[in-house]
Symmetry: C2
Subunit: 87 residues, 2 copies
């Protein structure tokens, strides 16, 4: 038996990482997902909390492609994996 | 009476512009909105067509802020106008 270090994001206490960089990436993804969910909930009030969360997480997981799409290239979104839904 | 030139996006035949640059911007906004609606519909199947359209248009209208948020700064979204919903 031994004591070991694990890492987690304060935004999701259940998910533990052995690697700090990986925990950092996960935390950053959740930060963006939460920010997106908040603004979308205000902008489109008919969305349920689950829907804004799903949309936020999905977009945050693919943030590089969405960054490209918003900056200048909507066609970047065609590179999104097709078998990958948010739920 | 006189003949005059007006411009429109082929994505929305109803909206006419006197200024070509403005019509271009509108067309680019709709292009991004449609691309977003398409991928979100696949990613979160519970969204209605109206919801994906609303989300797409809202994000496309504020594309510079969302570009910043996705690139590196989720806090950029706090600059979104608060009185501005998609509907």
């Amino acid at each position: 038996m031994a004591v070991e270090v694990v890492y987690r994001s304060s935004r999701d206490l259940e998910r533990l990482f052995m690697d700090k960089a990986e925990a950092d990436r996960y935390d950053k993804m959740l930060e963006l997902a939460e920010a997106l969910a908040t603004v979308l909930h205000k902008a489109v009030p008919s969305l349920t909390e689950q829907q804004t969360e799903d949309v936020g997480i999905y977009m945050a997981r693919h943030r590089e492609l969405f960054a490209k799409a918003f900056k200048s290239s909507p066609e970047a979104l065609s590179e999104l994996p097709t078998d990958d839904s948010a739920t």
